[in-house]
């Protein structure tokens, strides 16, 4: 177990050794994730942890995956995807080419959910989805698009709650244990590494999704990243945050119009 006052040194060590800057992440979450990692890997003290970080770079990937919280779902918050359908896509339809950025895409669940929606609306062929994450492991997994069947029932329920017309299985090839996403859904998606803390504007996109990522940042970093999104949007472009995240306290708040206050969808107006 480590304590709050060990955090600074650990964060410093990670930055020096591996170049990742976690200094503006939520300290409460960092502490919990690091202690969780230590518990899972049977590490007792802060000395053990430091030793591992310095001497075992192989294990750093496991560490990183535990720290960044890659937890996601297909059609997480069905009401959100419903709102995209009614409030955002009709507007984007008029563009000849639709660019979408899914930032903090985890293992691709959110991105493939979007692709399925776009396909059902007959928009996928003129869309380009850019899906990014800090974790290279997450990007690799996203590209493969293989998911355990364990949560499929839940995903299926989500899909139906947001108005899905087919059966979610239609979009996968499954065996007893795993399902792999159909390759035609992958065609318009580019999965690539991008670190919201360190990297700049990625690509101008008419819709940016960044859901359940900002809660892991402190207020300063939240604001910095929201400015990055502002810079990445054309005028009238849309920004979608997680259900419990908000623009309200950020410096760009008055440059956006609230499109759906429950689902946290905003439109850039100036």
């Amino acid at each position: 177990m480590i304590e709050f006052n060990d955090l600074k040194e650990i964060v410093f060590l990670i930055e020096k050794q591996y170049g990742y800057d976690f200094s503006d992440y939520s300290r409460a979450s960092m502490l919990r994730r690091i202690n969780r990692f230590m518990e899972i890997s049977n590490m007792g003290s802060v000395v053990d942890l430091k030793y591992e970080l310095i001497n075992n770079s192989v294990n750093f990937n496991t560490f990183l995956n535990e720290i960044v919280v890659n937890v996601s779902e297909f059609f997480r918050d069905p009401s959100f995807f419903k709102s995209l359908k009614t409030n955002v896509f009709p507007y984007l339809e008029s563009y000849p080419k639709i660019n979408i950025w899914s930032a903090g895409c985890s293992f691709g669940e959110e991105t493939y959910s979007l692709a399925i929606l776009l396909k059902e609306l007959d928009l996928l062929h003129k869309s380009r989805l850019y899906a990014t994450d800090i974790s290279s492991n997450a990007i690799e997994k996203s590209k493969k698009g293989i998911y355990s069947n364990k949560s499929f029932k839940e995903y299926s329920n989500n899909y139906f709650s947001c108005g899905g017309k087919e059966s979610l299985n239609e979009y996968f090839i499954s065996d007893g244990k795993k399902s792999i996403i159909n390759s035609d859904l992958k065609k318009e998606i580019l999965f690539t590494r991008h670190n919201l803390v360190a990297d700049g504007v990625f690509k101008e996109c008419q819709l940016i999704l960044c859901r359940n990522v900002l809660i892991y940042f402190n207020e300063d970093l939240q604001d910095k990243v929201l400015n990055l999104f502002y810079d990445s949007l054309p005028i009238h472009g849309f920004l979608a945050l997680g259900k419990k995240e908000t623009l309200r306290f950020s410096s760009v708040f008055d440059k956006f119009k609230e499109i759906d206050s429950t689902e946290k969808i905003y439109q850039k107006i100036k």
Partner: protein, 187 residues
């Protein structure tokens, strides 16, 4: 006491209402309520609690500062953590004990920050969530209270807590209220 954290599951809702009704108006210590809730269902939990409380009841928002006289509920599908600067943080990571929010996660996070300055209260429920966190609260010098198993509608949760740590205060509803009124009086 700087904060009171109440966790409960099946059978705990009416108990929480009674606690709120029974609290002396002078008690202003911030309260956090972690209730296992249904996924993707917007319930009117906050409205119900507000009807019975002199506290301002609200759902916890990410990075908001904890204030006196406020009662915070935890949104469905999120865990609730406490930062050292007394800001609340939401967390959408794995379910713990099949639950999100998990009582253990919040008890542990708050106890780590507040040490002896928090009270944890674990009520009726039918799983083991909260036991581990309440033990940490006790070990960190905070006050740990478990609802009397004979009174709890579902005793799995209080029993689990007592099984792994036997020195919790075991109290009936009336005594929980009395205890809170006496010890947080005028804080």
């Amino acid at each position: 006491m700087e904060m009171i954290i109440i966790g409960g599951s099946a059978g705990s809702f009416s108990i929480i209402l009674s606690i709120l009704k029974g609290l002396d108006k002078k008690v202003q210590t911030p309260i956090v309520v972690i209730l296992h809730r249904l996924k993707n269902v917007d319930s009117s939990l906050e409205k119900h609690l507000q009807l019975h409380s002199h506290y301002k009841v609200k759902e916890a928002e990410d990075k908001e500062i904890v204030k006196k006289g406020h009662l915070y509920t935890v949104p469905a599908n999120y865990h609730l953590l406490l930062e050292e600067n007394r800001h609340l943080s939401l967390d959408s990571s794995e379910l713990i004990n099949y639950s999100r929010p998990s009582i253990d996660v919040t008890f542990e996070s708050f106890s780590t920050v507040l040490k002896e300055k928090c009270s944890g209260i674990l009520l009726s429920g039918s799983n083991h969530d909260g036991a581990r966190g309440l033990k940490l609260i006790a070990e960190n010098g905070g006050k740990s209270i478990v609802q009397d198993c004979n009174e709890a509608e579902f005793d799995v949760m209080p029993k689990a807590a007592i099984r792994i740590y036997e020195h919790h205060k075991v109290l009936t509803l009336n005594n929980i209220i009395k205890n809170l009124n006496e010890e947080s009086y005028g804080y």
